[in-house]
Amino acid sequence: MVYDTVIVGAGVTGAATAWQLGRYNIKCAVLDKAADCGFGVSKANSGIIHGGFHHSVTSLKAKLEVEGNLMIDSMQHALHFPYVRTGILVAAFSEEEMQTVEKLYHRGLGNGLKGLELCSKERTLELEPKLQDNVVGSFYAPNGGTIEPYRYVFALMENAQLNGVEFKRNTKVVSGRFADGIWHLECEDGSVVKSRYVVNAAGLFADELSKACGAEEFTIRPRKGEEYLLDRTSDARPSKVIFPVPTKTSKGVLVIPTPGGTTMIGPTADMVDDKEDAATTGEHFDKILAMTQNMVKGVSRRDVITAFAGLRPAIEGDDFYIAPSEKVPNFIQAAGIQSPGLTASPAIGVYIKDLLKKCGLELVEKSDIIYENPGHPEVRNLSDEQVQALCEKDESYSRIVCRCEQITEAEIIDAVRCGHTTVDGVKFHTRAGMGRCQGGFCSAKILEIISRESGIPMQELTKRGANSRIMAGKLGTLEVKL
């Protein structure tokens, strides 16, 4: 079996590429070393759909950001992922900051954005009363929004799979060799996946994959961002994404109204050495808290329900590195996709598809493309009549398992049937366990449902694959010694 294209990495870049390639008459597979898609860079993300004003449109990054932003709405209609076009406010708290805000405004205009508004203090507070009263002014970009990044990746992969793309989980590519017009990708388990074309969407590990395939040598340096999640009852939840005035290295610490109803504060930006170092630190919290409290009313330590950290796959230079390899044939590099990679991703998918075509991959559109994903009913968002109708067919829609987020057993079953068999996979698909009790009440029940539906024994279930087992075995398997 030789694939036409294999995408290494099922993060947002790989998934968006797969979503595009699914529409053509080619054999395509996505390989990921993790237990599920989006489990690397994509899952721990601020979930911002950026407005396209942080970078000048002369860069590929800004071009794809602006294009991607314009594609998100129609994609949501077809793919059903949680996304709200909340708008973005960049708030200035001094005259000096206001000057930077004006620059951003003009850059946005230059990038061709519509509906931008440079706001006075009064207009700013009218748009967002949650801002602190000492705000001086702001720049409002109505085209920005928030998205659940993991659900977005899941939706892209789901559509790709509906259109025949194969998804191989727990498949780590260790090396690649091009011979007789075919890439031989050797995997950690000893298997070899063959393909005519390869897309390197390996995120933090794109440098290692590139090197292992004899392609360009470059370095991905992880830059860590820490985020804190506030309960849905927090008074701090703004109606729009609140940005501070950006610095040279970072867009700053934001206050984000997530589509799920919680509020997120963060992220930080710190270079780290370890590509798997997603540890949080205490000291950053105090900094994030102070910075967000200075911008938005009601940010309180009491409302923190969890913390997490993510790694941005930073690369040298200011731009994305998306190009065919100049050293090896039929190998597309898609590396250094950090912010605003999520926003740009739909356009990245299209861009990589076009690059593959330019490199000689014949792409003939299928006649039976499935554009739309089946819906995944979310009981919390349905009318009584809709819920009643679902319950009549399947009573598991009446059983609320996760009380904090109001997730029913049926939704968890649905997630498992979609292939999400880890606790995190189910959590990302359904929101079960994401609320204020952080799974304290429902985790045992969720484990039972995953085990029952997937056939995986309870003691073998994991948080996110590999050795992240939740339990050590059945009661009675350890000898009691007192």
Partner: protein, 417 residues
């Protein structure tokens, strides 16, 4: 969609709801008790240890035994217990009644209307996220209650070697439970300089097994990318971690038992005001919240150390509901406050000229302290308390003078935390 009406809707079929429901039913009120779980009994079902019921049933019971007894009380009294039923919305109607939207296995989407509501919703555990413990996010981090459920309801071992954060009763009980399941317990780490749990639990859950208790220490880092591998434990000096004295302990499991918070999210939908000191509703001596005909009791009101107190309190709350539904008016009340030696008092409004019980959570550790009741600044009653610990709730019975304008309680003597 089905509509059901009743006199009293009790939200939560733990000890509080079942005891209250048995009282209102016995009084002839049409009572519905709803609960999310398939079986009544609440969290008691997973508290398989003994130590319950000495006061309420005059014998020592395990949690499940206590749950069976109170479920039987409610059922025998004629209360309708709807299990597998989750309330998702609550609203107040123009005529003063209430309507709850519930999801029920039997009735699907269903509306329950009632003349009075009693919230006996219990509490939830604070989590790692609430106390902002730094480190990785591997498998093997549980709240003590989640691990307890996994062991005692599902029958699975949460790990092989654990460290427990917090010396509250749940943490201590879990230390013994883990040992009795063959799981090693390396340490219990308590940020305060005094244990948060009952002394007898220190003795029978830690001392019996030689488990070290690190008082005035904090877990300052979690290691392990996939499963927990170790934690850093750091002593505190003047409230700040002294990292020069940090030591690392290998373990594959970390349990958090770092406090309980009343569940009040549904009550808030009925505009019930929340007391920041308890995390539960403000109530008067009828256990009525700031929303008329909405009552609260049990751990959903304030966290008790004994289920027996939960049962007694809920019976009193139910008694008030019975009186109010028979036409008794809510009388003019005196505000009740506490000095800084006490974390809170329940109730915060009380009737003049009536004998009633007040409940306190001390903020001090003392071997001999005096609990004083002051009416308009004048001490009207005091009691010597031999052992004062934040872990142990205080109870004080008192008649408020007829002319009194405000009541205040204070603990004197002893050391302020």
């Amino acid at each position: 969609m089905k509509n059901i009406s009743c006199d009293v809707l009790v939200v939560g079929a733990g000890a509080a709801g079942l005891c209250a429901g048995s009282v209102t039913s016995k009084h002839g009120l049409d009572t519905i008790i709803i609960d999310r779980e398939d079986q009544p009994g609440g969290i008691l079902k997973q508290c398989i240890h003994n130590g319950f019921g000495l006061r309420y049933f005059k014998e020592e019971l395990t949690g499940p035994e206590y749950a069976c007894r109170v479920a039987k009380l409610a059922a025998d009294a004629g209360a309708k217990i709807m299990t597998g039923t989750t309330a998702v919305e609550a609203k107040k109607n123009a005529d003063g009644s209430f309507t709850f939207k519930v999801f029920s296995q039997k009735e699907k989407v269903c509306y329950i209307s009632s003349k009075a509501v009693l919230f006996t919703t219990g509490c939830r555990e604070r989590t790692r996220g609430n106390i902002i413990t730094p480190g990785t996010r591997p498998a093997g981090v549980f709240t003590a209650g989640a691990a307890q459920k996994l062991l005692n309801i599902s029958g699975y071992l949460p790990g092989k070697c654990a460290v427990i954060v917090g010396s509250g009763d749940i943490g201590l009980i879990m230390a013994r439970r883990l040992k009795w399941c063959g799981i090693d317990v390396k340490a219990v780490v308590e940020i305060m300089r005094h244990p948060s749990g009952l002394t007898r639990n220190i003795v029978q859950c830690l001392d019996d097994f030689g488990i070290p208790l690190y008082l005035g220490h904090s877990v300052t880092n979690i290691y392990g990318k996939e499963r927990v591998e170790a934690v850093d434990i750091t002593p505190l000096a003047d409230g700040k971690p002294d990292f020069s004295k940090t030591f690392k302990v290998d373990c594959d499991t970390l349990l958090f038992s770092v406090g309980l918070v009343p569940e009040v999210e549904l009550a808030k939908q009925l505009e019930v005001k929340i007391n920041p000191a308890t995390g539960g509703a403000f109530v008067d001596d009828d256990y009525e919240t700031t929303t008329p005909m909405v009552f609260a009791s049990g751990n959903g009101l304030h966290v008790h150390d004994l289920v027996d107190f939960v049962s007694e309190e809920s019976e009193r709350a139910a008694g008030s509901i019975c009186r109010r539904l028979s036409g008794a008016k809510n009388s003019d009340k005196v505000p009740v406050t506490v000095e800084k030696t006490l974390k809170y008092v329940v109730p915060t409004q009380a009737t003049r000229g009536e004998k009633q019980s007040f409940y306190f959570r001390p903020l001090i550790v003392a071997n001999k302290a005096t609990l004083e009741a002051r009416a308009d600044g004048k001490i009207i009653k005091k009691r010597l308390i031999p052992f004062v610990r934040p872990a142990e709730m205080l109870e004080f019975e008192l008649e408020i003078p007829a002319e009194c304008k405000e009541m205040e309680f204070a603990l004197t003597g002893g050391e302020l935390l």
